[in-house]
């Protein structure tokens, strides 16, 4: 075992940072796409129309019972097939993330809306509001406030999940580190470094989420 040699990180810094950038790109796509799709599916899960409710429920239960790694592989094979031509690993990974994470966002959103008591709806109805007005002015504003900590936590999960794109060759942060490692054989320094970077980011986001959760408690 040699001495610690942090120079390897200094030398390869630009390359590693490029990987980190890719990680952020993938995370942003996963979070925004996942949330948008998640809102649709989440509200569909609350519908009393069976034609809307059952497909949404199937969607959510299907993806939540599978490992993300497998879903990434699946879309890696499926996307070029559907598109008719190779689409690149980043694109396939993005599709996989958006769809997979949407099933988790959908549940957060559904739970958020359901957490508002039936009596709040009745109070709004009793003053003559319609369903639409009740949702718009009373239920959804409250639900959003309640959901923010969980949404933030899930965003952190997406950020961590991007590391799985490693398996189909996407040059995100983890893979960049392993590429350097293959060349330089400085595993300890490299993996410790990326571990610390991930930790700093995720820890601060989760602290933020806890603070928002506490503030929410006071506002109520």
């Amino acid at each position: 075992m040699g001495t610690f040699d942090w120079k390897v990180i200094y030398d390869n810094f630009p390359f590693l940072m490029q990987g980190l950038l890719t990680t952020f790109e993938l995370a942003v796509i996963g979070i925004t796409g996942g949330m948008l799709l998640g809102i649709i599916v989440g509200m569909a899960r609350l519908s009393s129309n069976k034609l809307i409710y059952y497909p949404a429920t199937l969607f959510v239960n299907f993806f939540r019972s599978l490992p993300l790694l497998l879903v990434i592989f699946w879309f890696y094979f499926l996307v070029p097939l559907l598109a008719g031509r190779p689409m690149g690993d980043f694109f396939s990974a993005s599709v996989a993330f958006v769809i997979f994470e949407a099933s988790y966002f959908a549940e957060i959103i559904r739970a958020g809306i359901q957490s508002i008591s039936k009596e709040q709806m009745q109070a709004a109805y009793s003053t003559g509001f319609t369903y639409g007005q009740t949702m718009r002015y009373i239920i959804i504003p409250q639900a959003l406030r309640n959901m923010v900590p969980s949404l933030l936590t899930q965003a952190v999960v997406v950020f961590q999940d991007t590391s799985l794109a490693y398996v189909i060759g996407v040059k995100e942060f983890l893979r960049s580190a392993s590429i350097v490692d293959a060349r330089e054989m400085r595993s300890l320094e490299l993996y410790a470094f990326i571990g610390v970077v991930y930790f700093i980011f995720c820890y601060s986001m989760s602290k933020l989420s806890k603070r928002l959760e506490a503030k929410k408690g006071i506002a109520k």
């Binding site: 790694l69 497998l70 699946w74 571990g195 820890y203």
Partner: protein, 239 residues
């Protein structure tokens, strides 16, 4: 659409079928071993997080935060590639040469530690939702701190946390798939191995999907039975 003809028979044809079965067995072994270690460790750490002694609490909090804020894959890579470097050379050689399946056991270390931090969080949340007066009632009858936790708090908390623990058990089995990146021959690895030999990626991956869905169903059923067995009127009731 790219022309593609589906060939589902690869899933059971020789030798692919037996590869899959081997892989499934490894997944189940890995999942169960990690789950039980994580349950034990996690209960310990989770309890430490709510004890009145600050050093224990700080340690447990640090433990939880570190394992939760670093991606699992990065952790596995760390244990597999980086950690052995810290060991003295002879230990490292022993690890790689003498222990059969060393990569399996390295993943056990990594996945158990990771999962135990998540279990700890659930246990902590469960314990903190137990009303203070339960502690006070037990202490007022002359129990020591330890007795209070052992006889009153932990049994109560366990029943409260069965639903989140069910989710965590499912997560462990899903996370075993990450072991494929460090050459553990489990289900996902095998499905991609089959793909490499037959070029029928969709069938192979779908086959693996079905395996995980079955595992999910079985776990949910078993945990449902456990929940019913432990059910207490007013706390959780029989469904």
């Amino acid at each position: 659409m790219l022309s593609y003809d589906f060939k589902w028979s690869i899933l059971w044809a020789d030798p692919y079928g037996s590869w899959m079965l081997e892989g499934i067995w490894v997944t189940i072994k890995l999942g169960l071993i990690c789950w039980f270690i994580a349950l034990f460790l996690g209960t310990l750490i989770g309890t430490l997080r709510v004890t009145p002694w600050k050093p224990f609490r700080l340690f447990a909090t640090g433990y939880t935060e570190v394992f939760r804020d670093i991606p699992l894959l990065v952790q596995l890579f760390f244990w597999y590639f980086a950690a052995p470097r810290i060991l003295p050379h002879s230990w490292e050689m022993y690890l790689y040469r003498e222990i059969p399946n060393s990569e399996f056991w390295i993943v056990v270390v990594g996945l158990s530690l990771y999962t135990s931090s998540r279990v700890a969080e659930h246990i902590r949340a469960g314990m903190q939702s137990i009303p203070d007066d339960q502690y006070n009632a037990a202490l007022s009858t002359g129990f020591t701190q330890f007795q209070t936790y052992w006889y009153v708090i932990i049994p109560y908390a366990i029943r409260l946390v069965i639903p989140p623990l069910t989710t965590e058990c499912l997560t462990v089995f899903k996370n075993t798939s990450l072991a494929m990146t460090v050459a553990v021959l489990e289900t996902t690895f095998m499905s991609q191995q089959i793909e490499a030999y037959t070029f029928h990626g969709i069938e192979a991956t779908t086959g693996a999907c079905i395996v995980y869905m079955i595992i999910t169903l079985v776990v949910v059923m078993i945990m449902g039975l456990v929940e019913n067995r432990l059910a207490v009127p007013g706390l959780i009731t029989r469904r």
